[in-house]
């Protein structure tokens, strides 16, 4: 096992290098200008913008810029954001709590909802409960978050005026009242995200349960006289969770990059919002940092998923 992990870690180095090279190339070849917003502003003429590009090193060929970026990274320097002139890690660090809070909670919530719903649906397939759960699951993963988000805003903020739709990130929770305010502003984004993820996960749990229920070992367990509860929870569910756990592990890195659309709609200053804005404004160091960290997390999550697989299923052994 140790050898397997070591080998995978060594292989991941060239993988990550390749990923960073490709991303950098795409960014460098795509036209764009961090000062493009001033293009129609005559008080910041083209020559001025050009001098700034020069000073920021944006006019060098892409391979030189890439090697500069890579060698700085190897020294632990991620560079500074063109838009804010602060180290990119500071920017990411500032936003990570919001993203983890909103996305992490939504992810947890959807796992907690999806497993029991999926199990119950599978135990009584095509029952009323299953039909309702299936309907919601399909609605959940077919409706894009920008749609459900806007519908929720329209109903709960505009028509009913119950919930705010501008996320206040300066709010510090230090009393019951501010805690309630924090909950109120998190309800809609979390609902939107959880609806989407629960939908997908529920279907997986249900399908996986249905695969296992008719299996021989289940019949054996039942014939041993085990009660239904023990059969379902200890035997069927445990085996059914193997693919689900993989899915959940692979999904964890997406919490880091945030939910681009949802964060934008609710004005949450998360990492997804930072990423999309940096792409719009050609803020290369920020885009590189976020995508590269994401790549690292994906590689790690894949490795973790494989390891967990081995732990959960004694039939799988790596050598």
């Amino acid at each position: 096992m140790g050898l397997f992990i070591l080998r995978r870690l060594i292989i991941s180095v060239p993988t990550l290098l390749g990923i960073s090279l490709v991303i950098y190339m795409v960014l460098a070849l795509a036209p764009g200008d961090p000062l493009a917003q001033f293009a129609a502003d005559p008080s910041v003429p083209v020559e001025v913008r050009e001098n700034i590009r020069q000073a920021l090193g944006l006019n060098d060929p892409w391979y030189i810029r890439y090697f500069k970026w890579l060698s700085a990274l190897l020294r632990g320097d991620w560079g500074f954001s063109f838009a804010s002139r602060v180290p990119v890690l500071d920017l990411i660090g500032q936003r990570l709590p919001q993203t983890l809070q909103v996305l992490g909670l939504a992810y947890l919530l959807s796992i907690c909802l999806a497993i029991p719903i999926g199990v119950l649906s599978a135990l009584r397939p095509y029952s009323l409960f299953d039909n309702i759960a299936t309907t919601f699951a399909f609605i959940g993963f077919s409706l894009p978050t920008f749609f459900t988000g806007l519908v929720l805003i329209l109903i709960f903020s505009v028509n009913l005026r119950w919930l705010p739709f501008i996320y206040d990130s300066t709010l510090t929770v230090n009393s019951w009242e501010t805690f309630i305010r924090q909950i109120r502003q998190m309800i809609m984004p979390i609902t939107v995200l959880a609806l989407f993820q629960t939908g997908t996960l529920t279907r997986f749990v249900r399908a996986s349960m249905l695969d296992n229920l008719p299996a021989d070992y289940v019949r054996t367990a039942r014939s041993k006289g085990l009660n239904e509860r023990a059969v379902v929870l200890r035997h069927v569910l445990r085996n059914s969770l193997i693919p689900v756990v993989t899915l959940i592990a692979l999904g964890v890195p997406t919490i880091f990059t945030g939910a681009i659309v949802t964060e934008q709609i609710f004005r949450i200053n998360g990492i997804g919002e930072l990423l999309i804005r940096s792409i719009q404004n050609s803020d290369t160091p920020v885009i590189m940092a976020i995508t590269f960290i994401f790549a690292v997390l994906v590689v790690i999550a894949n490795l973790l998923a494989d390891v967990i697989y081995g732990l959960l299923d004694p039939r799988i052994r790596y050598s």
């Binding site: 795509a30 036209p31 008080s43 910041v44 913008r49 838009a83 749609f147 300066t170 200053n269």
Partner: protein, 601 residues
């Protein structure tokens, strides 16, 4: 980039679908009443007695759909940074809505009459107020002004406001409260440095070690960029770049009765339609910037909202068509769009005139822009040049398809079997480009329809705004390369005197391969008469003559159909019905008078 455009489209689609769903379910409110854009701050009589005091109000909420990312204006990347920092950093003098200078950090505005401006225009002397303090309690002096200049002109600092310092030979400080700017050549545009949104003063003590590369890389400077010490009414409490700025009162602010609000929250992000909703309908914010929202949505929100009103104020911006006078045919290789390759048909005055005649500007303005646009025949559509729609639009440029057809017939452009006109094997087929933006794509569609009515084949193209307005040399899709026949965008003079803006289009400033497509005359229009007038304007100091020349330059652009002005675009902001005291200026930051703002119950 593309993805973002798609997302926006989807987001709009989402609003639409959501609106249909919910409105259908709840029994929709019917027919939108026409909105009457409210004039800023006309306090009712009962309120006239209300005297705002320092700290009399709690929280002012400002919403920009682009979030501020830095508060040092000299390293800004957009208007939102200029505006967010305006609560903190101030210029020596601001410019009000009528284009007059308002002294902020100086005792008076120097003029030729009071001797502040030298007779020969070789220098200008600003007398600083002696009672101004920085928000850390230290004195504001001439050394800070000189420092700002030195900070900015170092190219490695990457200051965006260097253009305002061009032509300065040196700055002298005879004493701590006198700043004398000496120009390299006599300068008639003597107020250009240290005024308005580009002329903000930094504190020397805070930024002394930040000249050059250190401005972005040194840790102390990075911190200073996010929390500059200023002379303005507020100071930073907390700043999350790309999200929100929280300010509180600067207790050293010069006016003891201002500012009114204990705290200000400057929130950024999201999109314009939901910002409009927040200020006009739900009251989630007190001020919303730049409500670029489709006319129908905006007027409906303004009419039914109940929480806020539109604030519309003039700037020089005009949405215009620009004509390419050189041949953008890719087959020409390196010679593409060079001056040596005149355009096959747009160099024909008759064609340009017909294209202009075919356009119904009033329809574009009314249907698409609503309260945020006004049809115009001229670039100088605002006071003091022209006042009122009768003067800048009137009957000067009505749509006349029949006349356009007649002109083309007369010029020998004959319709072919496919309905497209041609002469000597040259077909009237244009590629028409602009940036990706719903409003612009709808304008394109309308224009395409009219042009096809006069036998001009029209192909539409749109480019992501970041690319279209980007300046890198390797980008063939930007406005500088202009590898299309006609392009459309908005620009306008940043200051009341439009000469330097209009004179970007002189013959010698044609954007060409040699200057990496960066010179401003991207139409590559060549007009000796225009050049001569610009030459004269740059030398004259007589303001009346400058006014005449500006009108003549505008007239030449319009009569030669080098550009076709379409819609004058005032800025549209939204304000809470309780907010008072604002008087937005198109010649300065939208936040220029934020110290005067207050709220009533």
């Amino acid at each position: 980039m593309h993805r973002n455009a798609m997302r926006r489209t989807f987001a709009r689609l989402g609003w639409l679908l959501a609106a249909v769903l919910v409105l259908a379910a709840c029994g929709a409110p019917t027919a939108p009443a026409p909105a009457a854009p409210a004039q800023p701050a006309a306090p009712a009589e009962a309120e006239a007695e209300f005297v705002p005091t320092r700290g009399g109000g709690d929280l002012l909420r400002i919403l920009y759909w682009q979030a501020p990312t830095i508060l040092n204006t000299h390293l800004a990347v957009g208007t939102k940074d200029f505006d967010a920092s305006r609560l903190i950093l101030e210029p020596l003098a601001a410019i009000d809505a009528d284009g007059n200078l308002v002294p902020l950090l100086v005792e008076e505005i120097p003029t030729l009459e009071n001797g502040g401006v030298a007779e020969d225009l070789s220098s200008i002397t600003w007398k600083l107020r002696r009672d101004i303090k920085w928000s850390d309690g230290t004195d504001f002096t001439a050394a800070d002004v000189v420092f700002t200049y030195e900070y900015c002109i170092n190219p490695a600092t990457t200051c965006v406001n260097t253009a305002t310092f061009q032509g300065i030979a040196s700055i002298e400080t005879p004493d701590d409260y006198t700043v004398k700017i000496i120009w390299e050549n006599p300068n008639a545009n003597y107020y250009k440095a240290f005024t308005s949104t580009n002329g903000r003063i930094l504190q020397k003590a805070q930024f002394a070690d930040c000249i050059g590369e250190a401005a972005s890389t040194a840790e102390a400077c990075q911190a200073a960029n996010l929390a500059p010490i200023g002379t303005g009414p507020y100071k930073v409490v907390e700043f999350k770049p790309g999200d929100v700025v929280l300010y509180e009162i600067n207790e050293f602010y010069r006016d003891p009765d201002k500012p009114f609000f204990k705290q200000v929250q400057f929130k950024g992000g999201g999109d314009a339609p939901s910002a409009a909703r927040a200020v006009l309908q739900t009251g989630d914010t007190d001020w919303a910037w730049n409500l670029q929202v489709e006319a129908s949505v905006l007027t409906q929100l303004a009419a039914q909202g109940g929480a806020g009103q539109l604030v519309i104020y003039n700037v020089a911006n005009v949405e215009r068509l620009l004509i390419n006078f050189t041949n953008p045919d890719p087959a020409l290789g390196d010679e593409r769009a060079q001056l040596s390759q005149p355009h096959p048909f747009l160099t024909d005055h008759a064609v340009r005139k017909a294209l202009a005649l075919a356009i119904d500007r009033a329809a574009i303005a009314e249907q698409l822009y609503g309260p945020a646009g006004s049809p115009t025949c001229y670039l100088l559509w605002y006071p003091p040049f022209r006042s009122g729609i009768d003067e800048y639009f009137g009957d000067d440029c009505p749509q006349d398809i029949a006349e356009a057809n007649r002109i083309l017939d007369e010029a020998g452009w004959v319709r072919g079997a496919d309905g497209v006109r041609a002469k000597d094997g040259v077909r009237l087929s244009v590629l028409f480009q602009t940036s990706t933006n719903t409003l612009r794509q709808k304008t394109q569609e309308l224009i395409k329809q009219w042009w096809e009515e006069i036998g001009v084949e029209t192909e539409l193209k749109n480019v992501d705004a970041g690319v279209f307005f980007g300046s890198d040399a390797g980008n063939p899709d930007n406005i500088g390369h202009f590898f299309a026949d006609i392009q459309m965008y908005t620009t306008g003079a940043a200051e009341l005197n439009p000469i330097s803006h209009l004179c970007q289009y002189t013959s010698d400033q044609a954007s060409q391969r040699e200057n990496e497509w960066r010179s401003p005359n991207n139409m590559r229009w060549q007009n000796p008469e225009f050049d001569a007038l610009c030459e004269e304007a740059l030398q004259t100091t007589d303001t009346n003559r400058i006014f005449e020349i500006a009108m003549a330059l505008d007239g030449l652009i319009v009569s030669d159909y080098a550009m076709i002005p379409l819609v004058g675009r005032p800025r549209v902001a939204g304000a809470s019905l309780q907010l008072r005291g604002y008087s937005p200026s198109g010649w300065d930051s939208e936040m220029w008078d934020v110290a005067n703002w207050y709220k009533v119950d």
